[in-house]
Symmetry: C2
Subunit: 190 residues, 2 copies
């Protein structure tokens, strides 16, 4: 019997090596400073392989950011815990998946990255806010508020690495930010 996880082509191991290296380089250096040559060297192959398998640097980047963010179903948890659960889940996401760091780093200077970020926002955070509110304009605003706090914490904690933000224990982040997004989602509009 054949292993269903086995690579279908011999080149698949190289393909994913390139993708992994690219993920890290884009996440830590941003789009411009992550050079094809550096990515290729990290992956242990020739730069021309990148072009063969992904067409161009832009194509490689597209492959890197083409991921699905999955948020937990918030219907199953008590309404009062939504804020805390959400913050906890976002912290997991940021710490275990480099694609969000990539998006944040690149979205700030690259329009394609910004567009992808907006798409994630529209596909994940917006529907979430719509569970708590009637009019769609109100939901959009609340989603934007949640995004501002979540991305802001990610920025100072993981990207800019402000000491106090980076050192804060996870539980404290949840305790402080949880009520904030809870209010953004469920409080009466001011």
């Amino acid at each position: 019997m054949t292993d269903p996880d086995a690579p279908r082509r011999r080149s698949d191991v190289t393909r994913t090596a390139i993708l992994d290296a690219a993920r890290e380089r884009f996440a830590s250096d941003g789009y411009e400073r992550a050079t094809v040559r550096a990515i290729a060297q990290d992956a242990g192959i020739d730069p021309s392989m990148v072009m063969r398998y992904y067409g161009s640097k832009e194509g490689l980047f597209s492959a890197v950011i083409d991921v699905e963010l999955v948020l937990p179903d918030l219907g199953a948890i008590p309404v009062d815990d939504v804020g805390a659960v959400l913050i906890g889940h976002f912290l997991d996401l940021w710490e275990n998946d480099s694609v969000l760091q990539t998006l944040l780093r690149v979205g700030v200077t690259n329009e394609a990255g910004a567009a992808r970020m907006r798409a994630v926002f529209a596909g994940q955070i917006l529907p979430l806010a719509e569970q708590f509110v009637v009019t769609s304009q109100d939901a959009a605003r609340r989603a934007a508020l949640v995004a501002s706090q979540v991305l802001g914490m990610a920025l100072v904690r993981y990207v800019l690495r402000f000491g106090p933000a980076a050192d804060m224990p996870r539980a404290d982040v949840v305790a402080w930010l949880g009520p904030t997004v809870q209010r953004y989602l469920t409080a009466k509009a001011p």
Copy 2:
């Protein structure tokens, strides 16, 4: 009598033209994509002038981000209004001065920019938090929380330009974010 604001050297007009063009380019494109050639063209002079007056691209960037952020004295306003006043002031700052956009755009991919951002944080937001709290570690955390919300809103509103965040009237931003930073600064630690 001589005008005290008159340029002391004939080249001062060119110097500031370069600086103005650099501010805009760095703010909108980030460090890597803001080329010396493009800045020079915007300023209407030759690229070599940039080198003559600022030594290098790095030197020009240093000159651009070498600014003082001034926050209002919060001693004079009622304690309960601190959050709202602060948010209002930050919105003014972001809308009237491109240097913060520059810092945010560059700080995400450039270590010098990130360092400058941390310095602004330590020099401006941290002392502010120290007015409300006794231990310096607590103050640092509260300052980081305020920074996360303020920078997060700047990110989604001015840089990533999420529709709902960019369109939100200024008064609504103050009404939503004011209580948040108010709580970060003055509420009992959880």
